[in-house]
Subunit: 218 residues, 2 copies
DNA sequence: ACAATAATATGAGATATCTCATATTTTGCA
DNA sequence: TGCAAAATATGAGATATCTCATATTATTGT
């Protein structure tokens, strides 16, 4: 994690939209590289984050110790909002998929004032409700389509430099299909020359086809 | 819709949890019967509702004019929260499944103060975030189970006096399966003597079996 | 009262996806 | 270094669910 000069980024932070008090002076700007952990599981997060650039995976660890991918988040989204609202919240782990630039508002001086700022709370409620609406729409639409389409979208979301290298176990859990079927569909993509297997990874060979498959979801 | 004396209900309304200002004097208590419309689609809703007793269906009408069931809500939940947060929100229709008693806070005098009440907004944000978490959990778990289980739950939720009489078209849309398959599964239930077909309706003959099937979802 | 539309109903074949069985390879760790 | 566990891989048969075709029965508007 790197600390950046905020001057050049701060103008992109919708401060007036979200806050009625002057939070700007507390805001820090961080940069993360692929694979960096923005939030570690179960730790008390110390910041409310707002994603300026990049995307990240959100994980939770089950009782059995298995890590499960539960979401992918991107620019314009908050991280740490749950921790802010719920006194003791078991944080989910968050890991950068691509280079990320985030605004970070430290809980230490800002938590109390944020939770008393009606403008912020109203916007936060709107944000959460919109996200919930999105999620619901996503989930219900999703059921209607075969794995092919959802996998295409997932590959596009998670591939780094056109190389897809996710663990199958995690993915079939996330997409709600069997391991067998996931492998089957990946094999199909290779057969259709959409992907090419490269040892343990898959290289994207026909991105527009993937985009086509994933766009059907919208 | 009937207006009830609030004195006997008001004590069950978690006013202290949700509001920092005295909203009690504005609260009204309404009762609805099965089939009554609490909110009509597209109308500007005039109240923020809190469900004290009963459950209701939430509908939206698509471009093609078809009504789609999108949710079922019950005690402890809010209605009209979206309308409160979003200046112009296209209300979804809400219809009582059972006798309902709701607390109604009129927007006219209360909207402004509510949107400036940090305590209320914080609790609302928490409520919405918890609901979102629930929904997400529901949706993802749900994919894992065959229609049998989800249908069992749905029948229990919507049957009135042990009679199930939903439109199939609505239901297969809501549950995300084909019409054909829904009919198939209903026929199965009849064959197993869980339901009995009674003209166009279905009578529940083995409720505990239905409960068993639906509990697998949790 | 009748025609048009919507809802119900059922059959048959196709397909997406699952389960189970089993083998090989990689990885973590003592 | 080597063993146990995890991850990858593939086959074959089962099943949940879909699509399409086609009838019959309600409902609705004019």
């Amino acid at each position: 994690m790197y600390r950046l000069q905020k001057s050049e980024y701060i103008q992109h932070f919708p401060i007036n939209k979200y806050f009625s008090y002057n939070v700007e002076s507390y805001v820090e700007v961080f940069e993360y590289k692929v694979g960096d952990w923005i939030i570690e599981e179960g730790m008390n997060s110390n910041y409310l984050f707002y994603i300026h650039t990049g995307k990240a995976k959100v994980f939770v660890t089950h009782q059995n110790g298995k890590m499960a991918l539960i979401n992918i988040v991107g620019a314009g989204e908050f991280l740490g909002d749950m921790e802010l609202l719920h006194e003791q919240y078991y944080s989910k782990a968050v890991q950068a998929i691509s280079t990320m630039i985030v605004f970070a508002i430290p809980f230490k001086p800002c938590r109390e004032p944020l939770l008393e700022d009606a403008k912020f709370l109203k916007q936060l409620a709107i944000y959460i409700s919109e996200k919930a609406t999105d999620m619901t729409a996503k989930y219900s639409q999703r059921l209607a389509f075969p794995l092919e389409n959802r996998l295409a979208e997932f590959i596009l979301q998670t591939a780094v430099d056109d190389i897809y290298r996710e663990k199958h176990v995690l993915v079939c859990d996330y997409l709600g299909v069997s391991y067998r079927h996931l492998l089957f569909t990946l094999a199909q993509f290779c057969e259709e020359d959409i992907l090419a297997k490269d040892g343990r990874n898959y290289r994207i060979r026909n991105k527009s086809r993937l985009i086509g498959l994933s766009e059907i979801l919208k």
